[in-house]
């Protein structure tokens, strides 16, 4: 376990910034305690200082996970956000997409969101903007990337993909073994 280097911090913040914009400050600088990011076996964890002090006493080989896993660094040092970060992305998300009840299940199984399943989308969403996907009852389901901007979404045919799937809460069941 170690703190992130400058380059790694930059990569993580860039990725997070695509979904929550400048609200990362609220994650870094919290009024209710000191929270920090730590790297352990290529995974980035977000945890409080109290928890960090306790986790520091666990041997490296025996430590499985700590705090909340935000994502991991791949072999080529690219940062990949995982669904376990959804609890921190959802409240601060800038661009949101609501999915109709009929195609909720499809998204939770790992498919992209089609125009026919799109309920609502935040105004002024740019193309390839990071978005958080909600159900019509405002329950966060996951996050993805907008395939079309809001304007284009209105014109496009019903079978076109409007949101690329990146992570969904169904992964808690599907990839139970690989999530930490």
């Amino acid at each position: 376990m170690r703190p992130l280097t400058e380059a790694e911090t930059r990569a993580v913040f860039e990725k997070l910034g695509r979904y929550i914009g400048e609200n990362i400050q609220l994650l870094v600088d919290r009024p209710d305690g000191t929270y920090c990011f730590r790297l352990h076996r290529d995974r980035v964890y977000y945890l409080s200082e109290k928890l960090l002090k306790v986790a520091a006493s666990v041997p490296r080989d025996n430590l499985v996970s700590l705090g909340t896993c935000f994502g991991k660094f791949t072999k080529t040092q690219k940062f990949r956000l995982s669904v376990t970060a959804l609890d921190f992305l959802a409240p601060y998300a800038k661009y949101k997409v609501w999915v109709k009840p009929g195609s909720e299940q499809s998204f939770l199984y790992g498919n992209h969101v089609l125009k026919s399943g799109l309920g609502r989308i935040t105004e002024n969403t740019a193309q390839y903007q990071g978005v958080v996907v909600y159900s019509m009852a405002d329950v966060p389901l996951g996050f993805g990337v907008a395939a079309k901007s809001t304007q284009e979404c209105r014109k496009v045919d019903p079978m076109a993909i409007v949101v690329f799937h990146q992570a969904d809460v169904g992964e808690y069941v599907r990839s139970e073994d690989t999530l930490t």
């Binding site: 703190p3 400050q25 002024n124 901007s149 209105r154 014109k155």
Partner: protein, 361 residues
């Protein structure tokens, strides 16, 4: 039965106790010779020959017992030495060893004498002896003792010399400062050349030359030369901090650990400092991002295209006939829901027909 068992247990325990006590005292025919300075104990007792000639495990056990006994005697002697606590009151107990008596042989062969340099030969010939010079010289101007050469030398800084007299037979047009500089450079070069020659002579004679792998041989590989370059860079008084780079040498200095190990921040370091660093990083990242005009521009473009398309469609319909449009219009215009496209089509269409009608009228 139980009583017998108890007796057996007691006997075994007693034997173990005796064993422990026995192990501290060792009986030997001949006393051992000790050299505590080298931690050496010499045992001249003849070993039990029969046991040693035998096969593996028994011989092993005998040798082990012999070693243990001798070590016990050595350690006992060490405990008799005067001891003290190293590093203050809580430090470890350290015995002060006497001077080593046993002369250990040389590890490497003794060095061969190097051949005398040309100056040394000349000096021996002429009988010139080396005069011991004082390191400090009295500086009359500064009225204090200054170094003979180097930083703040007696006689002032030669770089700041503002006067250079023209010598008697010299050309008056010649630049004296340039001449002094050139002569110094030549002296330095000559010295260097002679030093290298002496080194080469010593090397040819077979003398061990100090730092031998670093001297140029003419057939060194790329890696060796790179290594030598790196060593040469660091071999200055400031450990290479102010060395200018060669033309094609990479700009960044190599890490102090030689590129072997990465160093990270401490795990539980100053968290407040970490937080402030991250906030600063966020600020830097945020400032460089351009304001997203692209979306607005794209949307504007799309709306324009839609408007044009709608206008063209409207004109076509108005040209076809007004009957169809009059029947459809009231139904459509009332609906406010649906895509903007319909609304936009309506308005320009309405505008188009209205305008057309007005014009005709």
């Amino acid at each position: 039965m139980a009583a017998v068992r108890v007796e057996e247990v007691l006997a075994a325990a007693e034997e173990r106790e005796a064993e422990k006590r026995r192990s501290v005292t060792v009986e030997k025919e001949l006393e051992l010779e000790f050299d505590l300075g080298n931690l050496l104990a010499l045992d001249r007792n003849p070993p039990a020959a029969a046991g040693l000639r035998g096969a593996g495990p028994r011989r092993e056990a005998l040798l082990r017992a012999l070693a243990r006994d001798n070590t016990q005697l050595l350690v006992a002697r060490l405990w008799e030495l005067p001891a003290e606590r190293a590093g203050g009151a809580g430090g470890p107990l350290v015995a002060r060893l006497p001077e080593p008596a046993f002369r250990l042989p040389r590890e490497k062969p003794p060095p061969r004498p190097r051949p005398p340099t040309r100056w040394e030969q000349f000096a021996r010939l002429k009988g010139i002896r080396r005069r011991k010079r004082t390191s400090l010289v009295w500086d009359e101007q500064a009225k204090e003792w200054r170094r003979r050469w180097g930083y703040r030398r007696a006689g002032g800084d030669p770089a700041r010399a503002w006067l250079a007299e023209v010598p008697a037979g010299a050309d008056p047009q010649e630049d004296q400062f340039a001449r002094l500089r050139r002569e110094k450079r030549e002296r330095v070069a000559r010295n260097e050349l002679n030093r290298l020659r002496n080194l080469a002579r010593a090397h040819r004679a077979g003398t061990t030359v100090p730092a031998a792998p670093l001297h140029p041989t003419g057939h060194q590989s790329r890696e060796e030369l790179g290594h030598v370059t790196r060593v040469a860079r660091v071999s200055t008084a400031s450990l290479g901090r102010f060395q200018p780079r060669l033309p094609k040498e990479p700009a960044e200095p190599p890490s102090r650990s030689g590129g072997r190990k990465r160093r990270f921040e401490p795990l539980l370091g100053n968290l407040a400092a970490e937080r402030s660093r991250q906030l600063e990083l966020l600020r830097d990242m945020g400032s460089k991002k351009p304001v997203l005009d692209i979306t607005r521009a794209v949307n504007k473009q799309l709306r324009q295209e839609e408007a044009e398309a709608a206008a063209a469609k409207g004109k076509k319909q108005s040209q076809r006939g007004k009957r169809g449009r009059r029947q459809q219009r009231p139904g459509r215009s009332s609906k406010k829901s649906g895509a903007r496209r319909q609304q936009q089509q309506q308005r320009p269409a309405g505008g188009g027909t209205g305008g057309g009608r007005r014009k005709k009228a």
